[in-house]
Symmetry: C2
Subunit: 370 residues, 2 copies
């Protein structure tokens, strides 16, 4: 079978020399497939099912990169089995990083990817060229009226997407149904006053069947998009909801960071840039350089690239730069990442005395890229 | 509010001195709650919602332990919001380890924990005192008849729980419905011949609504338990299925390992030992010392302790020692972990020429602990 027809995973790890690196790579290929001593595996299964070491190369400084291929039959039809195959038990081994993954056409065809993507979200907001601005209403602890007032002010100022903070669930301070109704009304009122088309995306994270209820409530309030964290609701659940194509979904990286460590886990450009897009995120929030989280410019660049690059039949997903982006530095990010970008800016607006004015200045700055 | 009435989380991290450690601890308390500059947060929210640093102590060698408390309102009714509160954005920070967590009665009352637990699984298998033996049928690649033949041999030998390998999904080699029917029949046949009560636990991991279908199929075949990986189906989904109490669930640690790194993540004894029990795992598979995964004895001891210790109204969950346990060394593990233990042993049996005989010797060894 040609390599393009197989699942191809690239791992990086530390090793003393080539023969030890080869042993570890072969161990990965066995652990992730038959998971038992090869001597006890029938010859035909050894040939057709066990992962194959395709390539091994030194990266210098004692690090190695191994490319291993698996038969697509192992993961057909199931996202969970794909994640299990690529990094299930390996997650327990330590010192291993999954850095790249190729999926063959037979698997790709099972994923429809973003149902709206950059184009769809642009259509909703009526913004065809320039980057979009998103701001979060917060903090948790405010009541629904206070949050709606913030939503109103952001929308008045011209912010394109007003979203719930990802820490807003169904807390007694501002219960979900009440909050969503009030905020959707507030944004509609602002739009009526300004002639704008600001969108309100509530956070629908919830337990069990309540997640469906919240989606229904959000749609009933006219929301065209929502916020959801794949690692908190489960990547599979996220995929299921996104593939129905009823509502746009911004993916939040909460709880995903444990996979993103430098020496073990899954490269952020793969997890956020490819897997989140594969399971249908229309936009993916990532912690940008210079904010509150320790990330590198190369990682952010690679996330943006993977979200927007041509990839089979998948629509491009919006890169959403957040995690402490300074409103005064947006030009730098637009130049770097391009105009197909959502700037998620909240804290640096809240830090200003006049929130609406701060938001308006940001809007004016970004509208120059029309 | 008394500390026992609040959510109390303990984090460990590296810091140069006490004042830097205090700054980092306060940053955690803000990031996980209001997630914005404190100067822009109303006084009443600062007092009632922002996390509070309760305790800070040096651990030596530049490491510090901080105890932070949160109001229970932030996570009431939602598992996802609890995980988000404890480690959501922190997962993105690096160098932070969540090592302990206290949940107040108002939150604990929302979790029923294991619906069967040690006692329930013992009742199913008719084994009241000694440890249980579980073995996995594998490798993936065998057809349903071949897997059923293995299930038959394990059951004939007296293995208590015959389980699917966690890599078995719905692959074309042995499609789920066919495999489960054949294996359930094979185990029933062996039981009829031996007078035994071996159980067959299939792996029901699947995407979207197919997970429900597979549960239904498993129950229709008379299965009293199943295997499922919380991090692959989503902890929330796992909790939802477990809390219905229809079928016992063994939790598999696949894909959880990224959280378990030594300097960043969630301590294994907390994730596997407490959270998996909280969301209803009746048994929790962990990689034991001396097997294929790098774990410490102290970690395994702590996992076993947390699964079985008194904890509010939650039933004890079975520790399931796996990940390469050698059949010849079971006495050592029974002495160490006690009799409330499932020994998950497969590879070291497959490595022997006569599988049924190897399993029978293991069974005889363990039955001495009756």
């Amino acid at each position: 079978m040609a390599l393009e027809e197989r699942i191809v995973a690239t791992y990086e790890f530390r090793s003393s020399d080539r023969s030890a690196a080869r042993r570890l790579a072969r161990r990965i290929a066995v652990e992730q497939t038959v998971e038992m001593p090869l001597s006890a595996v029938r010859r035909e299964i050894r040939a057709s099912v066990v992962g194959q070491l395709e390539h091994l190369e030194p990266l210098g400084a004692g690090r190695w990169r191994a490319t291993i291929s698996y038969p697509p039959e192992l993961a057909r039809g199931e996202l969970a089995s794909l994640l299990n195959l690529l990094f299930g038990n390996l997650s327990l081994m330590g010192g291993l990083r999954l850095v790249e993954c190729h999926l063959p056409p037979v698997l790709m065809s099972q994923f429809s990817g973003p149902r709206f993507g950059i184009e769809g979200v642009r259509r909703m907001s009526g913004v065809s060229v320039r980057p979009l601005i998103a701001s979060a209403i917060k903090p948790v602890g405010l009541d629904s009226l206070q949050l709606a007032e913030l939503a109103y002010r952001f929308a008045r100022a011209g912010v394109d997407i007003v979203k719930d903070d990802h820490g807003l669930y169904d807390q007694p301070y501002a219960p979900f149904a009440e909050r969503v109704a009030r905020c959707a009304d507030a944004v509609a009122k602002a739009n009526a006053e300004t002639g704008g088309r600001a969108l309100y995306f509530p956070h629908v994270g919830a337990s069990h069947e309540r997640l469906e209820e919240r989606l229904t409530q959000a749609r009933a309030q006219g929301c065209q998009g929502v916020l959801l964290a794949p690692l908190l609701v489960g990547p599979d659940r996220f995929w299921g909801l996104a593939s129905r194509g009823e509502i746009a979904i911004l993916a939040h990286p909460s709880f995903s960071g444990a996979y993103l460590e430098r020496t073990h886990g899954i490269a952020p450009e793969l997890l956020l840039g490819k897997f989140f897009r594969l399971i249908g995120a229309d936009g993916v929030i990532f912690a940008n350089v210079g904010g509150r989280f320790p990330v590198t410019q190369a990682t952010c660049d690679a996330i943006v690239r993977n979200l927007t690059a041509h990839w089979a039949h998948l629509r491009a997903a919006f890169p959403v730069a957040g995690g402490g982006v300074d409103a005064r530095k947006v030009d730098c990010w637009i130049e770097r990442y391009g105009k197909d970008l959502i700037l998620l800016i909240s804290s640096s607006l809240y830090a200003r005395r006049d929130l609406e004015r701060a938001a308006r200045e940001l809007v004016e700055r970004v509208r120059r890229y029309e």
